[in-house]
């Protein structure tokens, strides 16, 4: 609870503070817990439904906790043209790493590409991708 209040206070007085607050909550907790939604709603004079509506609209925010590391694999057209679909098919069945789809990382001339945390990886092939997943698991 205190942590929520701190995050909210850090953005006090900012125009359109909701997204920056949600980003910080998501970063701190890995998801946006229900209590955070309530605290934010109270602080910004919104209904909880409004806050939840925003959380559910954006792909970056998650209402449910999931502690697994995330690998974001680009499945957009330029990476498709460089074989990402075949590459994705080589991914071993595993549950320890959450493989998410993203539409474009802006590295479209050197795909297939992925992002883990803030780190980007280009020119992936089966071995590199497997090693990347392995390094996270």
């Amino acid at each position: 609870m205190e942590r929520f209040a701190e995050i909210i206070a850090a953005h006090a007085g900012r125009e359109g503070a909701l997204l920056p607050i949600l980003h910080d909550v998501q970063a701190a907790f890995g998801h946006v817990p229900e209590e955070a939604e309530r605290a934010i709603a109270a602080a910004l004079n919104l209904s909880r439904a409004e806050v939840h509506g925003v959380v559910s609209f954006y792909h970056d925010f998650h209402a449910e906790a999931d502690a697994r590391p995330v690998l974001k694999l680009c499945r957009a057209e330029a990476c498709q043209a460089r074989g990402v679909d075949a590459l994705a098919a080589t991914l071993p069945e595993q549950n320890r790493v959450k493989v998410e789809t993203v539409y474009c990382l802006g590295l479209c001339s050197v795909g297939p590409n992925a992002m883990v945390g803030g780190k980007v990886h280009a020119r992936l092939d089966g071995a590199k991708l497997a090693a990347l997943v392995e390094s996270l698991a």
């Binding site: 503070a17 990476c79 498709q80 539409y103």
Partner: protein, 513 residues
């Protein structure tokens, strides 16, 4: 004397291993300077020593480079045909300066445009931009001068300048390269816009998929806050929604709302961020402005083709041998871009299709290669140039799969405000799935009833399913509020039109039905 090695620190170079290469040079006793990327992506990580280039490097290649025995040398970078053929206005500093170094920026002509704007006054500044013929680079191609004039004339206590850095289109990375490679230029362009229209606050809305660009822009804004004052600029991070690149949706997102598209009018120029007059421009539009002010609008307009003035940073991506950023005056043909500049496919197989303009752009067959790259020529060929991203596909591409993906993308990213986009895209996926499976929809229980008069009897044929897909596309085109639903038909219909064989349309089974 130690050797100075210049290596890019932009996200693409890093993704290709630039940090490891830089560390290896440093370990070998070299002075390493981290600069912006030249845009020759197939050569990244690219190292420059005394003007000569070496790439693509790994740390293991470093000793040979320093010994002068590396086979990866490409000679003087500035004379490389990929660079020499360009007309670099926006990317004039690419590869040459350290992105966050204010001294490098000022020494390479930085702030000259802003000074000029202050010298000639707000009205004359807008006149220069109008004279340049600069059109919005975010896709719609709306003249920047007209937009600025509207905001300048609006009366309000608070006005805003918003930079659209959402760059969600596949095959586009020019915005990212500006923000990571030359952030002060974008800030200067925004400061000029703010001065011209009388805005005191600005936002750069950057997609969350670009953490490197966000970090660089934040650092750059801090470093030059005193230079652009009283204009106050802030960086905001998106949250993974493609539709937030649409300007009204972006404004909603900045306000802390769901990124739903707003109906126009009112125009953002009159009622934009928080209901106040707002300039919303793309990164490349704003980044072109310092050059225009420094060199004059007429000098900019002297380059280009027809009503498409100036240069366009074109992004070559996908299955292309020489992928990267190529800035040139409008009018170069699609074929020159793909075959000569891009060198054809990376796989060495024949080109089958080129998607121009991101996920909402049409797929063009090689028979369109004569098209000059400009807004009007592509519109006339049922396409669009969008943000000037080109995705090359070789002959292994399955065009009905690409059409399906376009619908799937629209379904995943729809803001949900209007029915043709929200529902139509999902139905479109199902329809294309049936077409691809050669399994036309069977008659349902109602259609099988003897007493219904209007409902068709029996199953649809494949040809009827394809007609239905065309109808659905028409509905999306004309019934959608914004270009997400409205333009998704471009990739779908172009795939259907140019590669009907991938949809089974010309199969013998169809003729037998």
């Amino acid at each position: 004397m130690t050797v100075t090695v210049r290596i890019s620190d932009d996200a693409l170079a890093l993704a290709c291993g630039a940090d490891e290469v830089a560390a290896a040079f440093a370990k070998a006793g070299c002075t390493v300077e981290r600069v912006s990327s030249w845009g020759m992506h197939w050569l990244e990580p690219l190292a420059e020593i005394d003007g000569a280039g070496y790439g693509p490097l790994t740390a293991d290649d470093v000793p040979a480079v320093l010994a002068g025995t590396s086979p990866l040398g490409i000679g003087p970078i500035a004379e490389h045909p990929f660079i020499a053929r360009q007309q670099r206005f926006t990317f004039a500093r690419a590869g040459k300066t350290r992105p966050l170094n204010l001294g490098d920026y000022a020494a390479s002509g930085g702030w000259a445009g802003l000074r000029k704007a202050h010298d000639i006054g707000a009205e004359a500044t807008i006149a220069e931009v109008t004279a340049s013929g600069l059109r919005g680079r975010g896709g719609a191609g709306f003249p920047a001068g007209i937009k600025w004039t509207t905001v300048a004339k609006a009366k309000a206590a608070q006005k805003y300048v918003v930079c659209n850095a959402d760059e969600g289109d596949s095959a586009t990375f020019a915005d990212r390269m500006v923000m990571e490679g030359d952030p002060f230029m974008l800030i200067e362009g925004m400061a000029i816009a703010a001065y011209a229209v009388g805005a005191t606050r600005g936002y750069v809305y950057i997609r969350s998929e670009y953490p490197h660009a966000i970090a660089k822009m934040e650092a750059a804004v801090r470093a030059c806050a005193h230079i652009i004052a009283p204009f106050v600029l802030e960086v905001r991070t998106g949250a993974g929604a493609y539709v937030c690149g649409e300007e009204t949706s972006l404004l909603n997102s900045l306000e802390g709302k769901r990124g739903e598209v707003r109906a126009k009018p009112p125009l953002p120029a009159l009622e934009g961020l928080f209901g106040k007059p707002t300039v919303v421009n793309n990164v490349l539009t704003l980044a072109a402005v310092p050059w225009i002010l420094a060199h004059g609008g007429t000098a900019y307009a002297a380059v280009g083709f027809g009503r498409s003035k100036g240069t366009m940073p074109i992004q070559l991506a996908g299955n292309v041998k020489h992928g990267g950023l190529f800035e040139v005056g409008f009018g170069i043909t699609l074929g020159e871009l793909v075959n000569e500049i891009g060198g054809g496919t990376a796989s060495g197989r024949p080109v089958r299709a080129v998607q121009v303009g991101g996920p909402l752009g049409a797929y063009h067959p090689p028979s369109d290669f004569h098209l000059p790259f400009d807004y009007e020529s592509f519109a006339a060929a049922d396409g669009l140039i969008g943000h000037a991203g080109l995705t090359v596909f070789d002959d292994t591409a399955d065009m009905s799969a690409q059409a399906r993906f376009a619908m799937e993308f629209c379904a995943a990213e729809s803001c949900g405000k209007c029915t043709p986009c929200r529902i139509g895209s999902t139905r479109g996926v199902e329809l294309i799935d049936r077409i691809r499976a050669r399994a036309p929809r069977a008659a349902d229980a109602v259609e099988r009833l003897p007493q219904t008069h209007n409902a068709r009897k029996g199953a649809r044929t494949l040809a009827e399913e394809i007609t239905l897909l065309e109808d659905l596309c028409e509905t999306m085109k004309f019934g959608s509020l914004c270009a997400l639903g409205g333009f998704t038909p471009y990739p779908v219909l172009s795939a259907l039109r140019h590669w009907p064989e991938d949809f089974g349309a010309a199969l013998p089974a169809e003729a037998a039905e």
